[in-house]
Protein backbone atom coordinates (compact mmCIF):
# COMPACT_ATOMS: atom_id res chain seq x y z
CA UNK A 1 0.00 0.00 0.00
CA UNK A 2 1.32 3.46 -0.78
CA UNK A 3 2.05 6.10 1.85
CA UNK A 4 -1.10 8.07 1.18
CA UNK A 5 -3.37 5.08 1.76
CA UNK A 6 -1.33 4.13 4.84
CA UNK A 7 -1.68 7.60 6.26
CA UNK A 8 -5.38 7.55 5.55
CA UNK A 9 -5.63 4.27 7.29
CA UNK A 10 -3.98 5.81 10.29
CA UNK A 11 -6.36 8.69 10.13
CA UNK A 12 -3.76 11.24 9.10
CA UNK A 13 -4.77 13.69 6.46
CA UNK A 14 -2.22 14.66 3.90
CA UNK A 15 -4.54 16.91 2.02
CA UNK A 16 -8.11 18.09 1.77
CA UNK A 17 -10.71 15.32 2.11
CA UNK A 18 -14.17 16.00 0.76
CA UNK A 19 -17.29 13.99 1.54
CA UNK A 20 -20.68 14.38 -0.07
CA UNK A 21 -23.82 12.99 1.50
CA UNK A 22 -26.98 12.36 -0.50
CA UNK A 23 -30.38 11.59 0.91
CA UNK A 24 -33.91 12.84 1.25
CA UNK A 25 -35.34 15.45 3.57
CA UNK A 26 -36.09 13.99 6.99
CA UNK A 27 -33.28 11.42 6.93
CA UNK A 28 -30.78 13.56 8.81
CA UNK A 29 -28.45 14.22 5.86
CA UNK A 30 -27.48 17.68 7.06
CA UNK A 31 -26.98 16.41 10.61
CA UNK A 32 -24.73 13.65 9.30
CA UNK A 33 -22.44 16.18 7.66
CA UNK A 34 -22.39 18.26 10.84
CA UNK A 35 -21.52 15.26 12.99
CA UNK A 36 -18.72 14.34 10.61
CA UNK A 37 -17.32 17.84 10.98
CA UNK A 38 -17.54 17.67 14.77
CA UNK A 39 -15.71 14.33 14.78
CA UNK A 40 -12.92 15.87 12.72
CA UNK A 41 -12.81 18.85 15.06
CA UNK A 42 -12.47 16.54 18.04
CA UNK A 43 -9.38 15.10 16.38
CA UNK A 44 -7.88 18.55 16.04
CA UNK A 45 -8.64 18.92 12.34
CA UNK A 46 -10.38 21.73 10.52
CA UNK A 47 -13.77 20.84 9.10
CA UNK A 48 -16.48 22.62 7.16
CA UNK A 49 -19.94 21.13 6.78
CA UNK A 50 -22.77 22.74 4.84
CA UNK A 51 -25.97 21.79 3.02
CA UNK A 52 -27.53 22.62 -0.27
CA UNK A 53 -31.10 23.65 0.10
CA UNK A 54 -34.12 23.26 -1.98
CA UNK A 55 -37.31 24.64 -0.56
CA UNK A 56 -37.51 22.33 2.40
CA UNK A 57 -39.94 19.50 2.44
CA UNK A 58 -39.81 15.95 3.64
CA UNK A 59 -38.74 13.50 0.97
CA UNK A 60 -37.07 15.93 -1.40
CA UNK A 61 -33.46 15.14 -2.40
CA UNK A 62 -30.98 16.83 -0.08
CA UNK A 63 -27.22 17.05 -0.40
CA UNK A 64 -24.76 18.00 2.31
CA UNK A 65 -21.00 18.36 2.22
CA UNK A 66 -18.14 18.01 4.63
CA UNK A 67 -14.58 19.11 4.00
CA UNK A 68 -11.80 18.01 6.36
CA UNK A 69 -8.25 19.36 6.30
CA UNK A 70 -5.24 20.00 8.47
CA UNK A 71 -5.36 23.73 7.96
CA UNK A 72 -8.19 26.29 7.87
CA UNK A 73 -10.59 25.78 4.98
CA UNK A 74 -11.28 28.90 2.95
CA UNK A 75 -13.02 27.32 -0.03
CA UNK A 76 -16.74 28.00 -0.38
CA UNK A 77 -17.88 26.10 -3.45
CA UNK A 78 -19.97 22.93 -3.26
CA UNK A 79 -18.02 19.68 -3.31
CA UNK A 80 -17.63 18.82 -7.00
CA UNK A 81 -14.94 16.12 -6.68
CA UNK A 82 -15.82 14.14 -3.57
CA UNK A 83 -13.38 11.66 -2.06
CA UNK A 84 -16.28 9.88 -0.41
CA UNK A 85 -19.97 9.50 -1.01
CA UNK A 86 -22.50 8.52 1.58
CA UNK A 87 -25.84 7.70 0.04
CA UNK A 88 -28.56 7.60 2.64
CA UNK A 89 -31.35 6.67 0.26
CA UNK A 90 -30.83 4.09 -2.47
CA UNK A 91 -33.83 5.35 -4.45
CA UNK A 92 -31.66 8.31 -5.44
CA UNK A 93 -29.17 6.08 -7.26
CA UNK A 94 -30.83 6.18 -10.64
CA UNK A 95 -32.58 9.52 -10.24
CA UNK A 96 -29.90 11.95 -9.10
CA UNK A 97 -26.32 12.00 -10.49
CA UNK A 98 -24.88 11.02 -7.11
CA UNK A 99 -21.63 9.66 -8.52
CA UNK A 100 -20.76 12.82 -10.41
CA UNK A 101 -17.17 13.89 -9.84
CA UNK A 102 -16.24 10.99 -7.58
CA UNK A 103 -12.45 10.54 -7.31
CA UNK A 104 -10.93 7.40 -8.87
CA UNK A 105 -9.97 6.04 -5.47
CA UNK A 106 -13.06 7.41 -3.83
CA UNK A 107 -15.24 5.71 -1.22
CA UNK A 108 -18.92 4.89 -1.65
CA UNK A 109 -21.14 3.86 1.23
CA UNK A 110 -24.76 3.14 0.42
CA UNK A 111 -27.60 2.59 2.82
CA UNK A 112 -29.10 -0.62 1.56
CA UNK A 113 -29.64 -4.24 2.54
CA UNK A 114 -28.87 -5.25 -1.03
CA UNK A 115 -25.44 -5.78 -2.53
CA UNK A 116 -23.74 -3.45 -4.98
CA UNK A 117 -24.50 -5.61 -8.04
CA UNK A 118 -28.11 -6.07 -6.94
CA UNK A 119 -28.49 -2.29 -6.81
CA UNK A 120 -27.59 -2.18 -10.48
CA UNK A 121 -24.56 0.05 -10.05
CA UNK A 122 -21.87 -2.60 -10.49
CA UNK A 123 -20.62 -1.00 -13.69
CA UNK A 124 -20.67 2.51 -12.24
CA UNK A 125 -18.39 1.67 -9.31
CA UNK A 126 -16.14 -0.73 -11.26
CA UNK A 127 -13.18 1.72 -11.39
CA UNK A 128 -13.11 1.94 -7.59
CA UNK A 129 -11.06 -0.36 -5.37
CA UNK A 130 -13.50 -3.06 -4.15
CA UNK A 131 -12.89 -2.30 -0.46
CA UNK A 132 -13.91 1.31 -1.13
CA UNK A 133 -17.45 0.46 -2.06
CA UNK A 134 -19.93 -0.99 0.42
CA UNK A 135 -23.56 -1.22 1.29
CA UNK A 136 -24.81 -1.14 4.83
CA UNK A 137 -28.34 -1.84 6.14
CA UNK A 138 -28.29 1.46 8.03
CA UNK A 139 -32.05 1.97 8.20
CA UNK A 140 -32.49 -1.44 9.81
CA UNK A 141 -29.72 -0.64 12.28
CA UNK A 142 -31.45 2.63 13.07
CA UNK A 143 -34.73 0.84 13.72
CA UNK A 144 -32.99 -1.74 15.88
CA UNK A 145 -30.93 0.60 18.07
CA UNK A 146 -32.79 3.91 17.97
CA UNK A 147 -36.32 2.73 17.25
CA UNK A 148 -36.60 5.00 14.22
CA UNK A 149 -35.68 4.36 10.56
CA UNK A 150 -32.94 7.04 10.58
CA UNK A 151 -29.78 5.79 8.88
CA UNK A 152 -27.33 8.63 9.45
CA UNK A 153 -25.55 7.55 12.65
CA UNK A 154 -25.10 4.01 11.40
CA UNK A 155 -23.71 5.29 8.13
CA UNK A 156 -21.19 7.43 9.99
CA UNK A 157 -20.03 4.37 11.90
CA UNK A 158 -19.70 2.52 8.61
CA UNK A 159 -17.85 5.47 7.13
CA UNK A 160 -15.32 5.45 9.95
CA UNK A 161 -14.72 1.73 9.44
CA UNK A 162 -14.41 1.94 5.68
CA UNK A 163 -12.16 4.99 5.35
CA UNK A 164 -10.23 4.86 8.63
CA UNK A 165 -10.17 8.62 8.25
CA UNK A 166 -11.49 9.25 11.75
CA UNK A 167 -11.40 7.17 14.90
CA UNK A 168 -14.67 5.59 15.93
CA UNK A 169 -14.34 7.23 19.37
CA UNK A 170 -14.40 10.64 17.69
CA UNK A 171 -17.51 9.79 15.71
CA UNK A 172 -19.18 8.48 18.85
CA UNK A 173 -18.30 11.61 20.81
CA UNK A 174 -19.58 13.78 17.97
CA UNK A 175 -22.87 11.90 17.86
CA UNK A 176 -23.25 12.19 21.63
CA UNK A 177 -22.67 15.94 21.44
CA UNK A 178 -25.43 16.32 18.89
CA UNK A 179 -28.13 14.22 20.54
CA UNK A 180 -28.88 14.57 24.23
CA UNK A 181 -29.04 11.81 26.81
CA UNK A 182 -30.43 8.41 25.90
CA UNK A 183 -31.10 9.45 22.31
CA UNK A 184 -27.38 10.04 21.96
CA UNK A 185 -26.60 6.65 23.45
CA UNK A 186 -28.93 4.89 21.04
CA UNK A 187 -27.44 6.68 18.06
CA UNK A 188 -23.96 5.71 19.22
CA UNK A 189 -25.12 2.12 19.53
CA UNK A 190 -26.31 2.15 15.92
CA UNK A 191 -23.01 3.66 14.81
CA UNK A 192 -21.11 1.11 16.83
CA UNK A 193 -22.98 -1.82 15.28
CA UNK A 194 -22.31 -0.42 11.84
CA UNK A 195 -18.67 0.14 12.68
CA UNK A 196 -18.28 -3.51 13.71
CA UNK A 197 -19.90 -4.67 10.49
CA UNK A 198 -17.69 -2.35 8.51
CA UNK A 199 -14.53 -3.48 10.27
CA UNK A 200 -15.33 -7.15 9.60
CA UNK A 201 -15.64 -6.32 5.96
CA UNK A 202 -12.42 -4.28 5.94
CA UNK A 203 -10.61 -7.19 7.58
CA UNK A 204 -12.08 -9.56 4.99
CA UNK A 205 -10.93 -7.34 2.15
CA UNK A 206 -7.48 -6.86 3.75
CA UNK A 207 -7.04 -10.62 4.13
CA UNK A 208 -8.14 -11.16 0.55
CA UNK A 209 -5.70 -8.61 -0.96
Amino acid sequence: MDTEVLNKCRGWLTELFQARIHGRGGQGVVTAAEILSIAAFIEGKYAQAFPTFGSERMGAPVTAYCRIDNHPIRLREPVVTPDALIIQDATLLHRVPVFQGLADSGYVLINSAQSIPDLGIGELVKPLPPEHCCTLPATALGLEHIGRPIPNSALLGGFAAMTQLLKFESVAAAIASKFPGSLGEKNVAAASAAYRLGMERTMTHAKAS
Binding site: I38, L75, E77, P78
Partner: protein, 417 residues
Protein backbone atom coordinates in the same frame (compact mmCIF):
# COMPACT_ATOMS: atom_id res chain seq x y z
CA UNK B 1 -13.76 28.91 23.43
CA UNK B 2 -13.19 27.18 20.11
CA UNK B 3 -16.17 25.08 19.08
CA UNK B 4 -17.40 23.33 15.96
CA UNK B 5 -20.69 25.09 15.57
CA UNK B 6 -23.18 26.42 13.04
CA UNK B 7 -22.28 30.01 12.16
CA UNK B 8 -25.80 31.16 12.97
CA UNK B 9 -25.42 29.76 16.45
CA UNK B 10 -22.04 31.43 16.84
CA UNK B 11 -23.61 34.72 15.80
CA UNK B 12 -26.47 34.30 18.26
CA UNK B 13 -24.16 33.47 21.13
CA UNK B 14 -21.91 36.40 20.32
CA UNK B 15 -24.86 38.78 20.09
CA UNK B 16 -26.03 37.46 23.46
CA UNK B 17 -22.62 38.29 24.92
CA UNK B 18 -23.16 41.89 23.84
CA UNK B 19 -26.02 42.06 26.35
CA UNK B 20 -28.80 43.19 24.02
CA UNK B 21 -31.81 44.38 26.01
CA UNK B 22 -34.46 44.08 23.32
CA UNK B 23 -34.35 41.45 20.57
CA UNK B 24 -37.16 41.43 18.08
CA UNK B 25 -37.33 39.53 14.83
CA UNK B 26 -39.55 38.08 12.16
CA UNK B 27 -38.50 34.81 10.59
CA UNK B 28 -37.11 34.71 7.07
CA UNK B 29 -34.75 32.23 5.44
CA UNK B 30 -31.75 32.17 6.03
CA UNK B 31 -31.76 34.13 9.28
CA UNK B 32 -34.08 31.86 11.23
CA UNK B 33 -31.46 29.90 13.15
CA UNK B 34 -30.01 33.08 14.61
CA UNK B 35 -33.24 34.36 16.10
CA UNK B 36 -34.35 30.89 17.17
CA UNK B 37 -31.15 30.54 19.20
CA UNK B 38 -31.67 33.94 20.79
CA UNK B 39 -35.29 33.10 21.65
CA UNK B 40 -34.09 29.92 23.31
CA UNK B 41 -31.41 31.75 25.30
CA UNK B 42 -33.86 34.35 26.56
CA UNK B 43 -36.51 31.78 27.45
CA UNK B 44 -33.96 29.63 29.27
CA UNK B 45 -32.82 32.64 31.30
CA UNK B 46 -29.32 32.52 29.81
CA UNK B 47 -29.72 35.96 28.26
CA UNK B 48 -31.15 38.41 30.74
CA UNK B 49 -32.32 41.03 31.28
CA UNK B 50 -33.59 40.86 27.74
CA UNK B 51 -36.99 41.15 26.14
CA UNK B 52 -37.50 38.86 23.12
CA UNK B 53 -40.45 40.01 21.06
CA UNK B 54 -42.06 37.93 18.32
CA UNK B 55 -43.24 40.51 15.84
CA UNK B 56 -45.75 40.22 13.03
CA UNK B 57 -43.58 41.58 10.20
CA UNK B 58 -40.08 42.80 9.46
CA UNK B 59 -41.41 46.34 9.40
CA UNK B 60 -42.61 45.80 12.95
CA UNK B 61 -39.28 44.21 13.91
CA UNK B 62 -37.21 47.23 13.05
CA UNK B 63 -39.88 49.58 14.41
CA UNK B 64 -39.79 47.85 17.78
CA UNK B 65 -36.00 48.15 17.72
CA UNK B 66 -36.38 51.86 16.93
CA UNK B 67 -38.64 52.43 19.92
CA UNK B 68 -36.44 50.38 22.22
CA UNK B 69 -33.26 52.12 21.12
CA UNK B 70 -34.80 55.56 21.47
CA UNK B 71 -35.77 54.64 25.00
CA UNK B 72 -32.15 53.77 25.79
CA UNK B 73 -32.10 50.01 25.34
CA UNK B 74 -29.50 48.11 23.30
CA UNK B 75 -31.56 46.69 20.44
CA UNK B 76 -30.90 43.92 17.88
CA UNK B 77 -32.74 42.39 14.98
CA UNK B 78 -31.99 40.30 11.88
CA UNK B 79 -33.48 39.86 8.44
CA UNK B 80 -32.74 39.18 4.77
CA UNK B 81 -33.93 39.80 1.24
CA UNK B 82 -37.67 40.53 1.03
CA UNK B 83 -37.76 41.25 4.74
CA UNK B 84 -35.18 43.99 4.42
CA UNK B 85 -37.22 45.58 1.66
CA UNK B 86 -40.38 45.32 3.73
CA UNK B 87 -38.71 47.31 6.49
CA UNK B 88 -37.06 49.75 4.08
CA UNK B 89 -38.91 52.76 5.42
CA UNK B 90 -37.77 51.91 8.94
CA UNK B 91 -34.20 51.33 7.73
CA UNK B 92 -33.95 54.93 6.55
CA UNK B 93 -35.82 56.10 9.66
CA UNK B 94 -33.36 54.43 12.06
CA UNK B 95 -30.37 55.98 10.34
CA UNK B 96 -31.99 59.38 10.09
CA UNK B 97 -32.79 59.33 13.80
CA UNK B 98 -29.25 58.20 14.67
CA UNK B 99 -30.28 55.07 16.57
CA UNK B 100 -27.44 52.56 17.18
CA UNK B 101 -29.33 49.41 16.26
CA UNK B 102 -27.35 46.36 15.09
CA UNK B 103 -28.97 44.16 12.48
CA UNK B 104 -27.70 40.95 10.87
CA UNK B 105 -28.48 40.47 7.21
CA UNK B 106 -28.36 36.85 6.04
CA UNK B 107 -27.57 37.92 2.48
CA UNK B 108 -30.16 36.54 0.11
CA UNK B 109 -31.35 37.41 -3.38
CA UNK B 110 -34.37 39.61 -3.90
CA UNK B 111 -37.21 38.44 -6.15
CA UNK B 112 -39.00 38.29 -8.45
CA UNK B 113 -38.25 35.57 -9.26
CA UNK B 114 -38.37 34.36 -5.66
CA UNK B 115 -35.03 32.90 -4.64
CA UNK B 116 -33.86 31.89 -1.19
CA UNK B 117 -30.16 31.57 -1.94
CA UNK B 118 -27.22 33.84 -1.43
CA UNK B 119 -26.30 37.04 -3.15
CA UNK B 120 -25.85 40.66 -2.07
CA UNK B 121 -28.84 42.28 -3.72
CA UNK B 122 -30.59 42.79 -0.38
CA UNK B 123 -27.96 44.73 1.51
CA UNK B 124 -26.99 46.54 -1.68
CA UNK B 125 -30.52 47.89 -1.95
CA UNK B 126 -30.00 49.70 1.35
CA UNK B 127 -26.42 50.82 0.79
CA UNK B 128 -27.28 54.49 0.84
CA UNK B 129 -29.75 54.48 3.73
CA UNK B 130 -27.09 55.77 6.08
CA UNK B 131 -26.31 52.50 7.86
CA UNK B 132 -22.77 51.28 8.30
CA UNK B 133 -22.35 47.99 6.41
CA UNK B 134 -19.87 45.26 7.30
CA UNK B 135 -19.39 42.11 5.20
CA UNK B 136 -18.11 38.97 6.93
CA UNK B 137 -15.51 36.93 5.11
CA UNK B 138 -15.45 33.93 7.46
CA UNK B 139 -17.63 32.33 10.10
CA UNK B 140 -15.29 33.71 12.77
CA UNK B 141 -15.63 37.19 11.40
CA UNK B 142 -19.41 36.81 11.16
CA UNK B 143 -19.49 36.33 14.92
CA UNK B 144 -16.82 38.91 15.86
CA UNK B 145 -18.28 41.66 13.68
CA UNK B 146 -21.32 41.88 15.92
CA UNK B 147 -19.20 42.93 18.90
CA UNK B 148 -17.47 45.50 16.73
CA UNK B 149 -20.83 46.58 15.34
CA UNK B 150 -22.34 47.47 18.71
CA UNK B 151 -19.25 49.39 19.65
CA UNK B 152 -19.15 51.36 16.42
CA UNK B 153 -22.92 51.93 16.40
CA UNK B 154 -23.08 53.31 19.91
CA UNK B 155 -19.98 55.47 19.61
CA UNK B 156 -21.22 57.10 16.42
CA UNK B 157 -24.99 56.91 17.05
CA UNK B 158 -25.40 55.14 13.75
CA UNK B 159 -27.08 51.81 13.01
CA UNK B 160 -24.89 48.98 11.65
CA UNK B 161 -25.74 46.11 9.30
CA UNK B 162 -23.60 42.98 9.57
CA UNK B 163 -23.89 41.13 6.27
CA UNK B 164 -23.37 37.37 6.37
CA UNK B 165 -23.72 35.27 3.23
CA UNK B 166 -26.91 33.23 3.47
CA UNK B 167 -26.51 29.44 3.64
CA UNK B 168 -22.85 29.68 2.59
CA UNK B 169 -21.95 31.14 5.97
CA UNK B 170 -25.14 31.14 8.03
CA UNK B 171 -25.70 27.40 7.66
CA UNK B 172 -22.08 26.31 7.62
CA UNK B 173 -20.64 24.28 10.49
CA UNK B 174 -17.11 25.45 11.27
CA UNK B 175 -14.68 25.99 14.12
CA UNK B 176 -15.47 29.36 15.71
CA UNK B 177 -13.96 30.86 18.81
CA UNK B 178 -16.80 32.22 20.90
CA UNK B 179 -15.63 34.93 23.29
CA UNK B 180 -16.47 34.92 26.95
CA UNK B 181 -18.67 37.34 28.83
CA UNK B 182 -16.08 39.28 30.80
CA UNK B 183 -13.97 39.71 27.67
CA UNK B 184 -16.88 41.24 25.79
CA UNK B 185 -17.86 43.37 28.79
CA UNK B 186 -14.35 44.78 28.85
CA UNK B 187 -14.51 45.66 25.17
CA UNK B 188 -18.11 46.86 24.97
CA UNK B 189 -19.24 49.31 27.66
CA UNK B 190 -22.92 49.75 28.47
CA UNK B 191 -25.02 51.84 26.14
CA UNK B 192 -24.87 55.59 26.78
CA UNK B 193 -27.35 57.16 24.36
CA UNK B 194 -26.96 60.64 22.91
CA UNK B 195 -30.73 61.06 23.06
CA UNK B 196 -33.25 59.20 25.15
CA UNK B 197 -36.96 59.21 25.88
CA UNK B 198 -37.25 59.79 29.61
CA UNK B 199 -40.05 61.46 31.60
CA UNK B 200 -37.39 63.03 33.83
CA UNK B 201 -36.04 65.01 30.86
CA UNK B 202 -38.63 65.20 28.07
CA UNK B 203 -37.41 65.61 24.50
CA UNK B 204 -39.18 65.48 21.14
CA UNK B 205 -37.58 63.09 18.66
CA UNK B 206 -38.52 62.84 14.98
CA UNK B 207 -39.75 66.31 14.10
CA UNK B 208 -40.16 67.43 10.53
CA UNK B 209 -37.21 69.35 9.11
CA UNK B 210 -37.84 71.66 6.18
CA UNK B 211 -35.67 73.11 3.42
CA UNK B 212 -33.95 75.43 5.84
CA UNK B 213 -32.07 72.69 7.65
CA UNK B 214 -32.49 69.38 5.80
CA UNK B 215 -29.30 69.77 3.79
CA UNK B 216 -27.33 70.30 6.97
CA UNK B 217 -28.87 67.26 8.62
CA UNK B 218 -27.89 65.13 5.63
CA UNK B 219 -24.41 66.58 5.53
CA UNK B 220 -24.00 65.50 9.13
CA UNK B 221 -24.98 61.96 8.12
CA UNK B 222 -22.26 62.05 5.49
CA UNK B 223 -19.83 63.44 8.04
CA UNK B 224 -20.71 60.64 10.42
CA UNK B 225 -19.75 58.04 7.81
CA UNK B 226 -16.45 59.85 7.23
CA UNK B 227 -15.82 59.71 10.96
CA UNK B 228 -16.58 56.02 10.81
CA UNK B 229 -13.73 55.59 8.32
CA UNK B 230 -11.41 56.67 11.13
CA UNK B 231 -13.16 54.91 13.94
CA UNK B 232 -13.60 51.48 12.35
CA UNK B 233 -9.87 50.71 12.02
CA UNK B 234 -9.39 51.97 15.55
CA UNK B 235 -11.93 49.57 17.08
CA UNK B 236 -10.49 46.74 15.00
CA UNK B 237 -7.06 47.49 16.36
CA UNK B 238 -8.41 47.45 19.88
CA UNK B 239 -10.18 44.19 19.12
CA UNK B 240 -6.93 42.68 17.92
CA UNK B 241 -5.09 43.93 21.00
CA UNK B 242 -7.67 42.49 23.31
CA UNK B 243 -8.58 39.25 21.58
CA UNK B 244 -5.46 38.48 19.59
CA UNK B 245 -7.01 38.14 16.16
CA UNK B 246 -7.83 40.35 13.18
CA UNK B 247 -11.52 40.97 12.59
CA UNK B 248 -13.30 43.74 10.79
CA UNK B 249 -11.49 46.88 9.80
CA UNK B 250 -11.93 48.58 6.45
CA UNK B 251 -10.36 45.96 4.18
CA UNK B 252 -7.78 43.19 4.10
CA UNK B 253 -5.19 42.50 1.44
CA UNK B 254 -3.83 39.09 0.44
CA UNK B 255 -0.62 38.80 -1.59
CA UNK B 256 -1.15 42.18 -3.23
CA UNK B 257 2.27 43.72 -2.67
CA UNK B 258 3.71 42.72 -6.05
CA UNK B 259 0.45 41.84 -7.77
CA UNK B 260 -0.29 42.79 -11.37
CA UNK B 261 -3.85 41.62 -11.10
CA UNK B 262 -5.85 42.23 -7.95
CA UNK B 263 -9.26 40.75 -7.33
CA UNK B 264 -11.75 42.66 -5.17
CA UNK B 265 -14.79 41.13 -3.51
CA UNK B 266 -17.12 41.27 -0.51
CA UNK B 267 -17.84 38.42 1.87
CA UNK B 268 -17.24 34.69 1.83
CA UNK B 269 -16.22 34.35 -1.83
CA UNK B 270 -12.89 35.84 -0.76
CA UNK B 271 -12.00 32.45 0.74
CA UNK B 272 -12.35 30.74 -2.61
CA UNK B 273 -10.51 33.60 -4.30
CA UNK B 274 -7.57 33.24 -1.91
CA UNK B 275 -7.34 29.53 -2.77
CA UNK B 276 -7.22 30.43 -6.47
CA UNK B 277 -4.60 33.10 -5.81
CA UNK B 278 -2.41 30.52 -4.06
CA UNK B 279 -2.87 28.02 -6.90
CA UNK B 280 -2.02 30.63 -9.55
CA UNK B 281 0.98 31.90 -7.60
CA UNK B 282 2.49 28.42 -7.90
CA UNK B 283 2.84 29.30 -11.55
CA UNK B 284 3.96 32.66 -12.86
CA UNK B 285 0.88 34.73 -12.07
CA UNK B 286 1.31 37.82 -9.93
CA UNK B 287 -2.20 37.87 -8.56
CA UNK B 288 -3.57 39.01 -5.23
CA UNK B 289 -6.91 39.95 -3.71
CA UNK B 290 -8.58 42.48 -1.47
CA UNK B 291 -11.49 41.66 0.81
CA UNK B 292 -13.50 44.75 1.65
CA UNK B 293 -15.13 44.50 5.06
CA UNK B 294 -16.50 48.00 5.52
CA UNK B 295 -18.60 48.63 2.42
CA UNK B 296 -20.29 51.63 3.97
CA UNK B 297 -18.47 53.84 4.63
CA UNK B 298 -16.64 52.90 1.46
CA UNK B 299 -12.88 52.99 2.06
CA UNK B 300 -11.91 55.05 -0.99
CA UNK B 301 -8.46 56.04 0.22
CA UNK B 302 -7.54 52.68 1.72
CA UNK B 303 -8.67 50.87 -1.42
CA UNK B 304 -6.80 53.21 -3.69
CA UNK B 305 -3.67 52.60 -1.66
CA UNK B 306 -4.18 48.82 -1.76
CA UNK B 307 -4.87 48.68 -5.51
CA UNK B 308 -2.75 51.54 -6.73
CA UNK B 309 0.22 49.62 -8.09
CA UNK B 310 -1.72 46.93 -9.93
CA UNK B 311 -2.21 46.85 -13.67
CA UNK B 312 -5.70 45.49 -13.62
CA UNK B 313 -8.48 44.89 -11.17
CA UNK B 314 -11.13 42.21 -11.35
CA UNK B 315 -14.18 42.88 -9.24
CA UNK B 316 -16.20 39.81 -8.35
CA UNK B 317 -19.62 40.85 -7.24
CA UNK B 318 -22.79 39.15 -6.13
CA UNK B 319 -24.92 42.10 -7.16
CA UNK B 320 -26.14 43.71 -10.36
CA UNK B 321 -27.32 47.11 -11.49
CA UNK B 322 -29.42 46.14 -14.51
CA UNK B 323 -28.52 48.28 -17.49
CA UNK B 324 -25.20 49.38 -16.02
CA UNK B 325 -23.38 46.36 -14.65
CA UNK B 326 -21.69 46.26 -11.29
CA UNK B 327 -22.52 48.08 -8.08
CA UNK B 328 -19.36 47.36 -6.11
CA UNK B 329 -17.28 47.95 -9.21
CA UNK B 330 -18.75 51.42 -9.59
CA UNK B 331 -17.43 52.27 -6.15
CA UNK B 332 -14.08 50.69 -7.00
CA UNK B 333 -13.92 52.83 -10.10
CA UNK B 334 -14.48 55.91 -7.97
CA UNK B 335 -11.61 54.86 -5.73
CA UNK B 336 -9.31 54.46 -8.73
CA UNK B 337 -10.44 57.42 -10.77
CA UNK B 338 -7.63 59.06 -12.66
CA UNK B 339 -5.26 56.13 -12.30
CA UNK B 340 -5.98 54.55 -15.66
CA UNK B 341 -5.98 51.08 -14.10
CA UNK B 342 -8.23 48.74 -16.02
CA UNK B 343 -11.21 47.43 -14.12
CA UNK B 344 -13.13 44.29 -15.03
CA UNK B 345 -16.45 43.40 -13.51
CA UNK B 346 -17.63 39.83 -13.11
CA UNK B 347 -21.19 39.43 -11.95
CA UNK B 348 -21.15 36.07 -10.16
CA UNK B 349 -23.07 33.92 -7.77
CA UNK B 350 -26.42 35.62 -8.21
CA UNK B 351 -29.24 33.73 -6.55
CA UNK B 352 -26.83 31.21 -5.05
CA UNK B 353 -25.09 30.06 -8.24
CA UNK B 354 -21.88 28.43 -6.97
CA UNK B 355 -18.69 30.36 -7.67
CA UNK B 356 -16.10 27.68 -8.40
CA UNK B 357 -12.33 27.79 -8.21
CA UNK B 358 -12.16 26.53 -11.78
CA UNK B 359 -14.33 29.32 -13.16
CA UNK B 360 -12.51 31.99 -11.19
CA UNK B 361 -9.15 30.73 -12.37
CA UNK B 362 -10.24 30.84 -16.00
CA UNK B 363 -11.57 34.33 -15.43
CA UNK B 364 -8.38 35.65 -13.85
CA UNK B 365 -6.22 34.05 -16.52
CA UNK B 366 -8.34 35.68 -19.22
CA UNK B 367 -7.85 39.01 -17.53
CA UNK B 368 -4.11 38.47 -17.43
CA UNK B 369 -4.11 37.50 -21.08
CA UNK B 370 -6.05 40.59 -22.03
CA UNK B 371 -8.93 38.47 -23.30
CA UNK B 372 -11.61 39.54 -20.86
CA UNK B 373 -14.58 41.79 -21.61
CA UNK B 374 -15.05 44.66 -19.23
CA UNK B 375 -18.33 43.26 -17.97
CA UNK B 376 -18.93 39.52 -17.76
CA UNK B 377 -21.50 37.30 -16.16
CA UNK B 378 -19.57 34.36 -14.73
CA UNK B 379 -20.76 30.96 -15.96
CA UNK B 380 -23.68 32.45 -17.85
CA UNK B 381 -25.64 29.74 -19.63
CA UNK B 382 -25.69 31.34 -23.09
CA UNK B 383 -27.84 28.73 -24.71
CA UNK B 384 -30.64 29.40 -22.23
CA UNK B 385 -30.42 33.08 -23.05
CA UNK B 386 -30.54 32.39 -26.77
CA UNK B 387 -33.56 30.15 -26.53
CA UNK B 388 -35.38 32.71 -24.47
CA UNK B 389 -34.68 35.63 -26.80
CA UNK B 390 -35.76 33.53 -29.76
CA UNK B 391 -38.95 32.58 -28.02
CA UNK B 392 -39.74 36.20 -27.22
CA UNK B 393 -39.02 37.34 -30.78
CA UNK B 394 -41.34 34.68 -32.21
CA UNK B 395 -44.49 35.46 -30.27
CA UNK B 396 -45.98 38.18 -28.14
CA UNK B 397 -47.59 35.84 -25.63
CA UNK B 398 -44.30 34.18 -24.78
CA UNK B 399 -45.30 33.31 -21.21
CA UNK B 400 -43.62 33.87 -17.83
CA UNK B 401 -39.90 34.26 -18.50
CA UNK B 402 -38.49 32.51 -15.43
CA UNK B 403 -40.72 29.48 -15.76
CA UNK B 404 -39.75 29.13 -19.41
CA UNK B 405 -36.07 29.25 -18.53
CA UNK B 406 -36.48 26.52 -15.93
CA UNK B 407 -38.27 24.36 -18.42
CA UNK B 408 -35.47 24.96 -20.94
CA UNK B 409 -32.90 23.79 -18.42
CA UNK B 410 -34.63 20.43 -18.24
CA UNK B 411 -34.91 20.21 -22.01
CA UNK B 412 -31.26 21.06 -22.58
CA UNK B 413 -30.11 18.71 -19.82
CA UNK B 414 -32.11 15.89 -21.39
CA UNK B 415 -30.41 16.57 -24.70
CA UNK B 416 -26.96 16.32 -23.14
CA UNK B 417 -27.66 13.39 -20.80
Amino acid sequence: MLRQVETSRAIAETVALCRPEVVCAYPITPQTHIVESLAEMVKAGQLQPCEFINVESEFAALSVAIGASAAGARAYTATASQGLLFMAEAVYNAAGLGLPIVMTIGNRAIGAPINIWNDHSDSMSMRDAGWIQFYAETAQEAADLHVLAFRVAEELSCPVMVCVDGFVLTHSYEPVDILCQNEVDAYLPSFEPRQVLDPAEPVSIGAMVGPEAFLEVRYLAHHKQLRALEYIPEVSRKFQEQFGRISGGLLRTYRTEDADTIVVALGSVNGTIQDVVDDMRQGTSAVGCVSICSYRPFPLAALRAALGSARRIVVIEKSLAPGIGGILSTDVRTALSGTGIQIFTAIAGLGGRPITKASLRTLFESAEAGKLDELVFLDLHSELIQRHLERESKQRRSGPAAENLLSDIRILAAQIG
